[in-house]
Amino acid sequence: MSEMWINMGPQHPMTHGLWNLRVKIDGEIVLDVDPEMGYLHRGIEKISEDRHYNEIITLMDRTCYVAGIAWEHLFILAAEQALHVEPPERALWIRMLSEEFQRVASHLMWYAAFVQDIGLMSPFLYGMRDRDLVLDLFQSYTGGRLTYEYMRVGGVRNDLPPGFAEQARKVCDWLLDRFVEYDRLCSGSDIFHRRCDDLGVVKAQDCIRLGITGPMLRSAGVPRDLRKDRPYAAYDRVDFDVATAETADVTGRYVVRMEELRQSVRIIRQALDWLDKNPGPVMADNVPRWMGAPYAPVGREGYLLKREYPKGVGFSAIEEPHGEALAYVVNEGGEHPYRVKLKSPVFVNLSAARHYLVGYRVADIPPIMGSVDICVGEVDR
């Protein structure tokens, strides 16, 4: 069989999104890999140069549609630094609670897609059913299932509804014993281990050289987690530990993500206790006047500025469910940001595809790509 390039093209059950993996194969072995991106490039950075700061939140939700509120949090931290605004204490805790719920929902979505690639059919349904529970909680306090538009510069849109904490604790209990069931379905069965052990191996030094972050890096034994190393929101006042594994292969990433699910539930519980005990405002009071929607927005033709507004630059980095995401906002004193630059962790993890795909079999590509947990929206922006 001579070498031939096959297209695991934009429409392929393995890709879970719009990207094309051109693979050069010789029989079963993969010789070379060329990921082709850009099928979902919506020019979000260009559009956000045209919108007010709070209106960019609608774009951030749709950038990474599996971890919407984490990307809102990323942009808001950068925008608040650029606009010199400090959110109140309670808003920080609510943001951390939302990000941890989003990590649970994102990892459950990863679990549903990952096991389907290996061939398990029923856990996809279990994963989606339990993820719907978390989306119900999101819907009860933000108003949306997948696109929340919840965070604002200076705080969050509204406070948690009454009776939310009690329901959230019930969902946490339900999820904890579902995770035990997931483990039994997956890492309990030997076929899973035969399919996933020492597959797509990326050692620690290679990870750092290639710039890989997130669960892929932690599965190689490097305990790097931005929530611990560079705490933002209220992560320094909550105790949790960083999930790592030694095997640096697909099973290692599975174990790391399942452990992160448990740690997230632990953080959520502590956040709920704190939020119960200290009520307070959720919106800063020095939000700049010309902020635009949805407060008193400016006139359609633009704003007759009578005075200069402070310029500024904002930089933020958060531990998004897929890895470390960075944002950089330049505020030139106008109503719109001059430039918004976003960096997605999957963009870098995917650029190292040649490292962890070459040499394995064609049948191994789906489990490896499943363990990388690709969200194409944030790669193409």
């Binding site: 429409q11 020019g43 979000i44 559009i47 939700d61 549609y65 989606m128 059913r129 719907d132």
Partner: protein
């Protein structure tokens, strides 16, 4: 924020630089993939003898009364959508096949190959780069086929319709039968859209 009116650009842009109007619309100029040229064997010609025999046996009106409704019932109760997710609506498309809103109750089973599908649910933002691949997929589907534009990105470009790389609505590429509003529409709204398509098929007697 009169951002969109080309007359008064808000962006501080020097007058001399070429504006977007001069540069041609960014159509996908890559030649369409030389996809398989289909020699369509229409089922009707495929069995010409059977048609005449049936025609003679049953009068045209009885055939219309008996055969067409039966195939219409079959066609509308087993819609096989294409297993293809574009953007955020694909997550709600997957949730619609999850355990809580089981779309398989209506006989809707996603298939991976366009050959075996008769429903293309466009769930997400269609960009110019994926446009001709979408048209290729649509043409690979056998004839009685329908298209559902799920979500605002497929209906009219949604929040990104002003972007340089987004097709403002999939009805510019393929004929669309049902539009579902929402950003993203709930899984129930998708099921409601599928039920409306079934109603449409029944009325149009396809």
């Amino acid at each position: 924020m009169g951002r969109l009116s080309a007359a008064k650009p808000v962006l501080t842009t020097p007058a001399a630089a070429p504006t977007a109007e001069d540069s041609p619309l960014p159509m996908a100029t890559e030649p369409a993939v030389p996809f398989i040229e289909i020699e369509t064997l229409r089922a009707r010609e495929f069995l010409p003898a059977a048609k005449e025999a049936l025609g003679s046996l049953l009068s045209e009106q009885a055939q219309g009364k008996l055969i067409r409704p039966m195939f219409n019932w079959a066609g509308r109760n087993s819609l096989f959508p294409l297993h293809w997710g574009l953007a955020c609506c694909a997550i709600e498309f997957a949730a619609a096949f999850g355990a809580r809103w089981d779309a398989e109750r209506f006989g809707v089973v996603p298939r991976s190959s366009p050959r075996q599908c008769d429903l293309l649910i466009v769930n997400g933002t269609v960009t110019w780069k994926v446009a001709h691949k979408l048209i290729t997929l649509y043409e690979q589907m056998p004839e009685p086929k329908w298209v559902i534009a799920m979500g605002n990105c497929a209906t009219g470009g949604g929040p990104f319709r002003t972007a340089y790389s987004v097709v403002p609505g999939v009805d510019k590429l393929v004929p669309v039968d049902v539009y579902i509003a929402g950003c993203p529409p709930r899984p129930e709204a998708l099921l409601d859209g599928i039920l409306r398509l079934e109603q449409l098929i029944k009325e149009r007697k396809e």
